[in-house]
Structure formats: structure tokens, C-alpha cells
Amino acid sequence: MNIIQETYQSLSLVERMVAFVVLAPLLGGLLAGIDRKLSARLQGRYGPPVRQPFFDALKLFQKERVVVNRAQNFPIFLFLLFTVFSGALFFAGADLLLTVFCLAVAGTFLVLGAFCVGSPFSHLGAEREVIQMMAYEPMVILVAVGMYQVTGSFKVADIAQHQMPLLFHLPGVFAGFLFILTIKFRKSPFDLSMSHHAHQEIVRGLTTEFSGPALALIEIAHWYENVLLLGIVYLFLGSNPLLAVVMALLVYFLEIFIDMNYARFKWQLTLLSSWLITAVVAVPNIIVLSTLR
């Protein structure tokens, strides 16, 4: 158990960031592949090999570059850059709130890229993506706030080394976070803005007008983001690293399971249910913690 913590502490800041930048896409792609394999098995079919996402990305890089207008791929590049930077910040142990804001900026760039294309499907996907962002943003900020209230620090390094499991003090926050994690992972019932793989929604939603390398970059950015999100889940049990890793994986499998079971919600239900769950489950947690101090 301590091996994880010891390795982490032995690396310097820059080394941690580099490790994330190099390892996260591999891990993220593998997770995506496990997702597809598991979904297939749950549906009674064989499914693609676990390394399939890597094949997809590599194939996409080989495709011809086709654009609708010349400016559309630049925001995608910024989206990738900011997502990687947020993840690097997180795993380097920096300020959690800064990570959250950075991630929000990254999401903004993706949306702006989809908006600037001027296509109806893309625009609709972008609008829904912004609604999704609006739906999960309060909860994500409250996660950071909740962790601060328990550990006294916003820094990921401090939170990860806190002696008590945060889960005991933050059950409501954790539950709320699990709810909106479905939105962040873009799984049914909350995959309104862009569809992954077999799902379809308004053609391809956000990613309709992107092809080839740009699409591969979006995929890879999502892998980075998924690893970052599982990292945040890890923090809830940071005092016991092995258990935390197991829990993160279990949460991922739970998301896949929810994906398989639910049909897509409408945006009204997405927005209202997210805000309502945040208010009912997470806010009391925060208020109780603040009165206890």
C-alpha cells in the first residue's frame, strides 16, 4: 500500500507531470477499451479487443485532414492542451480548485470549436455540452470545497495524504459526485452532447464536423480527462491507496453498468436533476461540515 505513496513522494513535481502526460493516455485508452469490451459482454456479444481505442486513434491519425473551415481545429488543440495541463496539475499535487477551473476552460474550448463550425448538428451538440457543463459545475466545485473543509487544504498532495478516509466525512459530496460523474464520462443517461462509439445523438453532436487527427485528439483528451476524474475519485479514500484504486475501478465499472441500463435523458431532466441532487445531497454535507469546525 505504501509503495504507491512512496513512489509518488519520491518523484519531483516535474517528474510527476511528465509521468502523467506519458502514462495517462495509455491508461485512459485501456480503460476505454475495457469499457467497450465490458459493454459488449453485458449485451451478450464478443465486442472489440481491449486495445481497440488505440487502433481507433492510430487509424484516425492516418486519415486525410478534412475541415469545414480552417479555424475549427485550433480550439480542439487548445482543448487537449488544457485537459492535459489540468491533469498534470492534479497529479503533481497542486491546487484542486485550479484544476477544476482549468478543466472548465478546456471544456469551453471544445465547445467553442464546435460553435465556430457553423453547422446545425454541431451547434446543437455544443449547446447541450454547455448545458451539461452548467449541470455539473456546481458539484465539482463543491467537491473541492468539501475536501478543503475536511483536510484544511486545497492541495491535492495534502488531500491524498490525509490520514482519515475522506469518504466518511463526505458521503453526500461523494454521492453527488458519482451522479455527475456520469455526465463527465459522457455515459447514458447523460450523453446528450456527443455520442461515444455505438451511441448516436444528433448525428455525432459536438464532434460532427471534426474528422481525422482532430477527432483523435478529442478522443485522447477524453482519456486524459477520464484518468483525472478517476484520480478525484481516488482522493476520497486517499488514506488507503490500494483500496482507493480498487474503488476508482469499481466506480468506473458502475458507470459502465449505468450506461448499459439507462436511455438518454432530456436536457431539462439532466440539468434539473443534477442541480437538485447537488442541492439535496451535497449542500447539507458542506453545511454540516462547516458547522462542525
Binding site: 459488449a40 456479444r45 465486442g47 487502433f55 487509424k59 485532414r65 455505438a198
Partner: protein, 150 residues
Amino acid sequence: MAWFKRSPWMIHYNATSCNGCDIEVFASLTPLYDLERFGIINTGNPKHADILAVTGSVNEKSTQVVKNIYEQMPNPKVVVAIGLCAISGCVFQDCYNVLGGVDKVLPVDVYVPGCAARPEAIIDGLMKACDVLEERYAEGKAAKRRVQGL
């Protein structure tokens, strides 16, 4: 590397078919035949697709559309004509509105016969299409190298 063979994404377009071949295409995606184990995803978006699977013959209206979709696909791409109507128009080839098979409008690479084409045949055809994709890609790269070399 043979990435196209590992991850060919398909877009399916129905020109004037009776939907019989369409149903067979979708049946191939169901757990019984499971196209996804080859990495094939049915994307509805030409810009994401490598393989254009066309069912049904073409008429005046669908000519424009099928050309439009073909243009929006990035290279390398292949066209698969599924079902006899897509191959030649079959029993409808003398109708006043039918132009004939898809190859009257687009360069078709793989023909999958049948009325309706069986899922096994469709899968076989798509696998052949992957090989053609790889060839196309290699040709494209060689052509680019020649252009740059000159």
C-alpha cells in the same frame, strides 16, 4: 501499419432500397453477428467514416445525396454496394426513375450480392473492404511521397 483493418468505421446509406438489406446490415450489428468485434462502428457521420455501405439502387434524387456524402468522407475511403439492387438495380433496373447500381454514380470497391444480403455475406464484404482500404491508404501515401519527391 494495418490500422484501417483494425478500426474501419462505417456509414450506411439507404438509396432506394426496400429496407431489406438495411435490416440485414443492422442485424450484423446485433449481438448475434456482432460487427463491433472487428472494430467496426456504425457512425452516422460521413466525416468519421471510412466505409460507405450503400443499399438500394440510385435514382435522380439519391444521386446527389450519395455523391454529397461520399465527398464529405475523408480519404482513404471505400464504397461497398450491399444487395443486388445496389449492384445493378436487379429487377428494377429498367424502371423509369432508377439509374441502376451504385457504380453508376460512385466508384464501388466491393459488391455484396444477395436479396437480401445475408449478414455473413455483409461481414465478408466489409472485411474485404478493409483490405481495399489498406491498399488505398498505401497507394495514397506512395502518391504523396512521389509528389513531394518531385
